[in-house]
Amino acid sequence: MAGVLNSILAAAANPKKRSEVTASTFDCLDKKTALILFAVAEAVLGEGFLLKAPRFVETVDDYLNYQRPQQRDQFLLALLIAEVTYGPLISGNFKHFSHLSLADRRKILEKMRSSGQELRRNIYAAFVNVSASTYYASDLTWPDLNYKGVSVDHPDILTQPPPIPWRPKDLRPIEP
């Protein structure tokens, strides 16, 4: 059933072309779902997000390999559902999702988040989880968070004694 629905939606989808989506070969996405993913990520993260996460689409495509196949299929179906149906169904706008302005795409996200329908909230969660976690996996975003990265010396704060006297009567040895 999901396969049939996927085929119908894929045939109906005509996502907006974006010059930023340059990858031509994919493991799990295809050209259409890659373009929809870009439109979703832009709505979640903001314009110009590729500046700090330049391999965003490729990273998501690779990551989808590790998902359970049924869950991966559901994610790809969610992209197509959002593209083809959420414009008219949620915003009353007959344009497909990727063709909407950033502001209108965000209005749809907001409505998905607060929806009474479990499916819409789950799709919202999938979109923001994938977008936000892939974005903040990029080293270029870490200075915004004051995250020093991996394989670095731990901060001096950790060498200070505990903030309050700790177990003064406990004579058990402390592991070095």
Binding site: Q67, A125, L145, N146, I174, E175
Partner: protein, 537 residues
């Protein structure tokens, strides 16, 4: 003669093997059984779905495992089930489970608590043989072998927690763990590259291989083939670095038996694929510890990724069938971003406000004690892969709300200027707030809040009740004389404590049963000396 580790992704031909025992899974249960059965002189084969983690010097100082590069996304897809994107069937709970050599022991935060006494009492009512007294030598063996220690290196989340608890006069304790000379990189959750955490790939498994055990990694078990009361064959296939099947297959024809140790989702799913469902008992009554999370925002930088993640807790709220343990941890950019149900400018504001100066506390909630509740069910999807059908039990909703309130109070008492609660929409509470909004959170509807679990238990339970029993007191699977189960799937309820030590101990018990059956010696090697890590237990 030493055994070996074979990486299934590199196997060029189909393989047939005939060990004495085939152990499925290399996590806490599988590692223990591999070592003890090999010690007893058996020819042991371990099958692990995830990748090998070879000992190989890396670029960072003291790095012993080059492939563990501490980078979140790369490690999640390498070391976790479904790349750390496993969800309950309704999408409501994120399930973090290991899938690599060492299983959950490779990626846990090293916490070592014994089984809760109240839980053991409940288990005895359900016919399980374990008591505090008769478990003692097993716990002692684990505590001394790893060993389990007190580690007084506190990260900033633990430091803030101490301050907040002291202000509220809440008793708080050092939480013993299994790290040694910890470098405080904070990377326990993505695999310790320095061999300072005593996970399965550092202790149990290499010790078993040194005595002759063979391990196949990248090997996914399809099904067991049974004949009468015996398991005759284990059928598996090899997978590549992206978890896709290679075209090579493995058939194991064990001469003495099979030990299931694939965890509380993996073990039932293999049994279901093998048509060993015991009239629909397998997979039922699967439990998690639903975990609620708060992030406090403090005036100064906290560097929340670094330091020992999990060595401070409070036992105050643990008692009771729906009690909860508040513990402290580390947090990292990707994990934080994935938990934030937010988009647009607010997403980035929350990340920038709460990450640099944040401290985390979270609560594991006990479940599973209501015999009229269905809890979770492990099922197979249309591809034969497992999924957990689970809804937060009604009885846990109020304790989950109250754990968030209590954690918020502790943060605010410690000096947090605000506390971020992972609700949808995100909720920030401040000093003087009533917490009423926290007490309205609907945890039973998916995506009304972010809920994690890192502990899955049950689904193939030991029980005196014939309607529930899948595993007998001697750890054999019902109706199959040469099939044992030695992992957390045998728990009839959730444990109410981090389960690693309990699984180790029960797997030792299971290994002893197997040795007794075959009249082979089982010995404790680490009963003397050591420093008992749980005073008063």
């Amino acid at each position: 003669m030493a055994g070996t580790i074979v990486e299934g992704r590199n196997v060029a031909d189909n393989v047939t093997l005939t060990p004495d025992f085939c152990i499925i899974g290399s996590g806490a249960g599988g590692g223990v059984c591999a070592l003890k059965l090999t010690e007893a002189g058996f020819d042991v084969l371990v099958l692990e779905e995830g990748p090998n983690i070879p000992k190989e010097k890396g670029p960072a100082p003291a790095q012993e495992r080059k492939m563990l590069n501490e980078r979140e996304v790369e490690m999640y897809k390498l070391l976790y089930q479904e790349g750390a994107t496993r969800l309950t069937k309704n999408g409501g709970v994120k399930i973090l489970q290991g899938r690599c050599l060492g299983g959950g022991t490779a990626v846990n935060w090293s916490a070592c608590l014994p089984p809760r006494l109240e839980t053991l009492d409940e288990w005895q009512k359900r016919g399980l043989p374990f008591t505090r007294q008769n478990l003692d030598p097993y716990l002692r063996e684990v505590a001394n072998y790893l060993p389990i220690v007190r580690n007084d290196k506190y990260n900033t989340s633990a430091r803030m927690f101490m301050l907040g608890c002291a202000k509220h006069d809440i008793p708080h304790e050092n939480l013993p763990n299994n790290t040694h000379n910890c470098r405080e990189c904070g990377s326990c959750g993505v695999g310790c590259p320095y061999d300072r955490k005593m996970s399965g790939f550092v202790k149990w498994l290499p010790d078993a291989v040194a005595l002759g055990a063979t391990i196949y990694t990248d090997t996914k078990v399809d099904r067991l083939k049974a004949s009468g009361d015996q398991i005759r064959e284990v059928h598996a296939h090899f997978i590549d670095g992206k978890t896709r099947p290679t075209k090579r297959k493995l058939v194991v024809k064990p001469t003495k038996g099979v030990v299931m140790a694939a965890g509380a989702i993996g073990t039932p799913s293999i049994l279901l694929r093998s048509d060993l469902d015991l009239d629909n008992r397998v997979g039922k009554y699967t439990h998690i510890h639903p975990t609620t999370i708060t992030i406090g925002k403090y005036p100064d930088n906290t560097f929340p990724a670094y330091g020992v993640p999990d060595n401070m807790w409070t036992p105050k709220f643990a008692p009771g069938p729906t009690g909860y343990l508040i513990e402290t941890g580390s947090f990292y950019p990707v994990l934080s971003a994935s938990a934030t149900l937010q988009h647009g400018d607010e997403l980035h504001r929350i990340m920038r406000d709460y990450y640099p100066t944040g401290a985390i506390s979270y609560a594991h909630h006990t479940t599973g004690f209501d015999e009229d509740e269905k809890y979770g069910t492990v099922e197979l999807d249309r591809n034969g892969d497992p999924e957990l059908d689970y809804k937060i039990p009604k009885a846990n909703v109020k304790p989950m709300q109250e754990s968030l309130v209590m954690m918020a109070r502790i943060h605010l008492a410690a000096g947090a200027t605000s506390v971020y609660v992972l609700r949808n929409p995100p909720l920030e509470v401040k000093q003087g707030d009533t917490f009423d909004e926290i007490r309205q959170i609907d945890f039973r509807s998916p995506q009304r809040a972010t809920i994690f679990t890192v502990h899955v238990m049950g689904g193939c339970q030991m029980n005196k009740d014939n309607k529930r029993r899948c595993v007998n007191e001697d750890f054999t699977f019902s109706g199959k004389k040469n099939l044992w189960v030695a992992d957390g799937s045998i728990f009839p309820t959730a444990l109410g404590a981090n389960p690693q030590v309990t699984i180790y101990s029960l797997a030792l018990w299971a290994a002893r049963q197997i040795c007794d059956r075959h009249q082979r010696p089982f010995q404790f090697n680490h009963q003397q000396g050591g420093d008992w890590p749980w005073p008063g237990y």
